[in-house]
């Protein structure tokens, strides 16, 4: 029985460059990579060095605090390069593929065994297989601590953010595998609830009975944090685990085949993408490989992950552990002459200060701030758009004044890090980044205790 949950806030945006639903297979790339720097709340300890030979599923690095959080190689071949960022942070491990890649073998379970397996068994198989980090924990969005006792697991089929793979694409003909994944998650904690943003995605018919909740409203409808905020009755329910829809399939693949999964469905979309569509490709592919041809209209920004939560990298980099979407937008080359006085039929906005609000067609986004940074003028757009009713215009001042208790009382830990407050801010204050960093600092402090 599907329940509909209404959330009134959020943002319905209107972006052109939507991906076509067809899935194209993509050739395997020459190199594969994994980006430890993009996995939040861990400190990686490298277990390989440049020149080492690895198989698919060989151990590459672990978390220093929790060595059970293992990260495995998405490909077989030679470690070509380990790229470091500032202060020797490990940015990227690049593997040059062999023609003949070999798999590491892990223990496999059949469907019956999964149904009767103990919690410890599933935990250890996932940790050993390198997929445990796909399960994350609210409120900090860290990798789930196996010892914690969550009130359930939320499987999110997307949040309506442009652009991520469509559940109708990655769930197509995957009923059995999805079922295996859900059964194994049920061994970890119950209930396992599947949430889907109502307006954005259609799901295959077979999946409808699985979906417990449909969330109505704009982005980030379907986000686990938002769902929890609206559903929780008491403070005990704050601790929850969550998994992304497609990752359930990866978990099922690992458990039922004993092989580290190497392919998933990704999406390449946005105005600057030559051919916006779904792709099935290797996990950890280089961005250039997925992005395909440059349409040649000037500099392009590749955003890995969605436009609100993703990060941008150059074409030489690879897709991160959690990401499954590339959104390509144009970089603005020239300032627009006297744009201040234009009605702005083509300017995307949350406010009503441009005529684009009456336009129904898709709008072109670019990766410019569209203004200089100013002091907060108290317009209140951030509080209006916040899906979990934080008051960012007050909370950020509490953070700047180091009044963390006050920020917490405002609901800092309910923050879904959706990015909408930063997006709408006319003073161009990086509110989300401030919240994210404060949350990360708080997590570190709590973990040390």
């Amino acid at each position: 029985m599907m329940q509909t949950l209404r959330h009134i806030k959020g943002f319905r945006l209107n972006m052109s460059g939507k991906p076509a639903p067809e899935i194209d297979p993509l050739k395997d790339p020459q190199t594969l990579g994994i980006l430890p720097d993009r996995i939040s709340h861990i400190t990686p300890r490298l277990l390989v060095k440049e020149g080492d030979m690895v198989n698919i599923g060989s151990l590459l690095f672990v978390d220093k605090q929790n060595p059970d959080f293992k990260f495995r190689s998405p490909g077989g071949g030679r470690i070509e390069e380990i790229r470091f960022g500032r202060r020797r942070r490990i940015r990227e491990i690049v593997i040059r593929r062999d023609h003949q890649e070999r798999f590491e073998r892990f223990e496999r379970l059949d469907a019956g065994q999964i149904k009767t397996a103990s919690r410890e068994k599933i935990v250890s198989l996932l940790q050993e297989g390198g997929l445990w980090p796909l399960i994350r924990e609210l409120p900090f969005r860290n990798i789930a601590r196996p010892g914690s006792n969550p009130k359930g697991i939320l499987v999110s089929l997307g949040s309506g953010e442009p652009f991520h793979p469509d559940p109708s694409a990655y769930l197509r003909d995957q009923e059995d595998l999805f079922n295996v994944g859900i059964e194994s998650l049920k061994r970890l904690s119950v209930p396992v609830d599947i949430i889907v943003p109502k307006e954005v995605f259609p799901v295959p018919d077979w999946a409808i009975p699985y979906c417990r909740y449909a969330v109505e409203g704009g982005y980030p409808a379907g986000d686990p944090g938002l769902f929890l905020y609206h559903m929780k009755q008491s403070a005990e329910e704050n601790l929850m685990w969550y998994v992304a829809g497609q990752d359930v399939l990866l978990i099922a693949e690992l458990l039922s085949t004993g092989c580290y999964p190497i392919r998933k469905i990704m999406v390449v979309a946005g105005d600057a993408a030559g051919n916006p569509r779904h792709l099935v490709t290797r996990i950890g592919s280089p961005l250039a490989h997925i992005a395909g041809h440059d349409p040649g209209e000037g500099p392009v920004r590749i955003i890995t992950g969605g436009i609100f939560t993703g990060y941008s990298d150059t074409e030489q980099h690879h897709v991160g552990y959690y990401e499954s979407g590339l959104t390509m937008v144009f970089e603005r080359k020239e300032p627009e002459f006297l744009s201040l006085f234009k009605p702005g039929l083509d300017k995307p906005t949350y406010s009503r200060a441009f005529l684009s609000r009456i336009k129904t067609g898709g709008l072109r986004f670019d990766s410019d701030y569209h203004g200089e940074e100013r002091a907060c003028i108290g317009c209140g757009y951030c509080a209006e758009v916040c899906p979990v009713r934080i008051l960012p215009q007050f909370t950020f001042k509490a953070i700047l004044a180091k009044e963390i208790d006050e920020a917490l009382a405002h609901g800092l830990l309910d923050c879904t890090e959706c990015g909408l407050c930063s997006y709408v801010c006319p003073s161009k204050i990086d509110l989300t980044e401030m919240m994210k960093q404060t949350r990360a600092g708080l997590f570190k402090e709590l973990e040390r205790r």
């Binding site: 609100f308 941008s312 020239e334 441009f354 410019d368 100013r374 909408l420 709408v424 161009k428 989300t432």
Partner: protein
């Protein structure tokens, strides 16, 4: 466009770090960015940002004020022609209006811009757009006969004391334009209040004693003596409801046009720049308080107490202040509920000051400033109430 770009390209080096005018670089950049907004590629997520910025936000308020300037130019000249015994035709009126208003605007902008540039230069901050709105609002609240030096002094006080010493736009808690106006009112009452300051008298006309007494409706209503009817008194001086709504009578330069202000309010609310809660709160507070006073009056009380609530609304600069001053996002309340209370406080205080304080014919400016002081308190109350309902997550 290319020609303009070339001019900026030629000027830019002089305002650079080693240029001759490096101290003026915030002022230069502010001007350049109006023509060519600076490109700033986003580096932290979210990787796309809204098209709205503070510049556009403020620019739209100035756009909303343009009809008031057009009206003000005409009205100043029209009243001057009438009072000087000349023919109140359109073009001569506009000419007198321009002659009176333009110097005021130029002086106000020059002084305001200079202060903002000075503080921005010292702080090494970019110049904020708020000053442009302040300088657009301020002249509209002034009497047309004001000496230019007083206009300069007023805007200087408003910007420096009302805003800059607290850190500039966004950190002020008072409306800077009203702060400057209130300063002038208290420091130079002779040039800022009374019956004679609202009309420019030209020499050479056939001046009649009767025409010169250009009392404003607010002053008239306050002066009605016991036993008389306030509505009759206004009516006999020519102040009907419609006339006051159009605002074609002696008063501050652009503030008397109640209908224009209402249209401006609708414009700003439609575009999401002004908050409708504040404006609606103001109107409700004003009508409600006026009604209560109507009900409370006895035969012994002043006739002003019996003035129709709608007369209050159309008289003087109330609607102008509701639409443009009360809705200043920085100095108003920031929470939605607090905005209602904030508005109602303004409306209600305006009526109370007008009726019970013979020294202040127009109370709306002081009412806005007074409620500005209370806005943080109102916000705090609402936040506390709201946080109590929240399920803790620590």
């Amino acid at each position: 466009m290319i020609r303009i770009k070339r001019i900026f390209d030629r000027l830019r080096p002089h305002f650079g770090k080693s240029g001759r005018f490096s101290g003026l670089s915030p002022a230069y950049e502010a001007i350049e960015s109006v023509f060519f907004p600076k490109l700033r590629p986003v580096q932290v997520s979210p990787m796309v940002r809204d098209s709205l910025d503070v510049k556009r936000y403020m620019m739209l308020v100035i756009v909303a004020l343009m009809p008031h300037y057009a009206f003000g130019l005409f009205n100043v000249g029209y009243q001057s022609q009438l009072a000087s015994g000349l023919s109140p035709q359109f073009w001569p009126s506009i000419r007198i209006g321009l002659k009176t208003v333009l110097p005021l605007v130029v002086v106000v902008y020059a002084a305001g811009f200079a202060w903002e540039a000075l503080f921005a230069g010292i702080r090494k901050h970019p110049m904020s757009e708020g000053v442009l709105v302040t300088c657009a609002l301020f002249p509209l609240t002034l009497p047309p006969t004001l000496p230019l030096w007083q206009a300069a002094l007023g805007i200087s006080f408003g910007i420096v004391i009302g805003k800059e010493i607290f850190g500039g736009t966004g950190r002020n808690f008072l409306n800077p334009a009203l702060t400057g106006r209130a300063f002038l009112y208290f420091a130079y009452p002779a040039q800022n209040s009374g019956d004679t300051v609202w009309t420019v008298i030209q020499s050479g006309g056939a001046v009649t004693a009767d025409a010169v007494s250009g009392a404003t409706p607010l002053a008239l209503a306050a002066a009605v003596e016991k036993g008389q009817d306030v509505h009759m008194a206004l009516e006999s001086a020519g102040y009907g409801l419609m006339k006051m709504a159009f605002g074609l009578y002696p008063g501050s330069i652009g503030g008397t046009a109640t209908l224009l202000a209402a249209m401006g309010a609708v414009f700003l609310v439609t575009l999401g720049i002004a908050n409708y809660r504040i404006i609606a709160g103001c109107i409700i507070g004003m009508l409600g308080t006026a009604l209560l006073i109507n009900l409370a009056k006895t035969g012994e009380s002043l006739p002003y107490l019996s003035l129709n609530p709608f007369h209050h609304l159309v008289m003087g600069g109330a609607m102008f202040a509701f639409a443009y001053m009360a809705t200043d996002p920085v100095s108003s309340a920031h929470m939605q509920g607090a905005r209602w209370v904030f508005g109602m406080g303004i409306g209600s205080l305006t009526v109370l000051i007008r009726v019970f304080n013979p020294a202040f014919p127009e109370g709306v400016g002081l009412a806005v400033l007074f409620m500005n002081l209370f806005a943080p308190l109102l916000d705090q109350i609402e936040i506390n109430l709201r946080l109590k309902r929240r399920i803790r997550n620590v």
